[in-house]
Amino acid sequence: MTTNQFMFFLFATIIVVFSVLTVTSRRILRAATFLLFVLVSTAGLYFMLKFNFLAAIQLTLYAGGIVVLIIFSILLTSQIAEKLEQPALTKKIFAGLAAVIGASLCIYTILLYNFIPSNLPSIGTNVDTIGQALISTGKYGYALPFEVISILLLSAMIGSIIVAKKRKD
């Protein structure tokens, strides 16, 4: 077993175990912490694949931003001391059945399909290349989606401020 395989199994185990704990834990603050573990080990997978910039984004935006936002909203809206109520057994069974059947169908299809791995050298993901691609308007340029996502973020920011603002009445 090579180092890569070992690291992959480590991250995969962390991801699967803590994903299950995220959706089954009955203490909501713990569920948020387990989600943080999942997101950090996903960043580990990105580092393994040598997507350093993406892993940094994952760590700062997901782990540093979204999880902190979720934890703040938990502190604002929930009684963290009390446990969430247990979902009904039939609901659990049917949801679990749907998940297991869907997962096994997808995994079966993945194993059946013959992916042809590429031997070409990687283009490299240094920040210089990424920045050039983000502002380029030619082939393989992403200027338009970049601008669209900026407008989306601005409107989401304004929208969430207006929605969460306290009414005067």
């Binding site: 992959f8 959706v23 999942v38 040598k50 931003g65 604002l76 809206t77 929605v163």
Partner: protein
């Protein structure tokens, strides 16, 4: 093959994570835990994009940029969702999906 780790392993991990997210989405009642399941689902899709990009088309960067855009959309979605959740809590003092039926009838 990425130095001993084939593509299918990444896809299988992402699939398992995706369906765990689906399970949580169906079972949970609290709005914030549903939002957390949604983050799991989006994150598993990101792993798929990155693995395809690195192992099948290493000379392009499409997968990476899609992942960046998915992360940006997830951040926007989380902020709007949490604003709505806080507003609902302020009006109804609970955030259980089964008790929020003010607009139903």
């Amino acid at each position: 093959m990425f130095e001993g780790v084939p593509l299918t392993w990444f896809l299988i991990v992402a699939t398992i994570m995706f369906f765990i997210g689906i399970y949580g989405f169906l079972v949970r009642k609290n709005l914030i835990t549903i939002l957390m399941s949604l983050e799991l689902i989006l994150n598993s899709v990101n792993i798929n994009f990155v693995a395809f990009n690195k192992l099948l088309y290493p000379q392009h960067m499409e997968g990476m940029f899609f992942t960046v855009f998915v992360i940006a959309v997830a951040a926007a979605e989380a902020s709007v969702a949490i604003a709505i959740i806080i507003n609902i809590y302020r009006r109804l003092i609970n955030i259980d999906v089964e008790r929020i039926d003010e607009m139903k009838y």
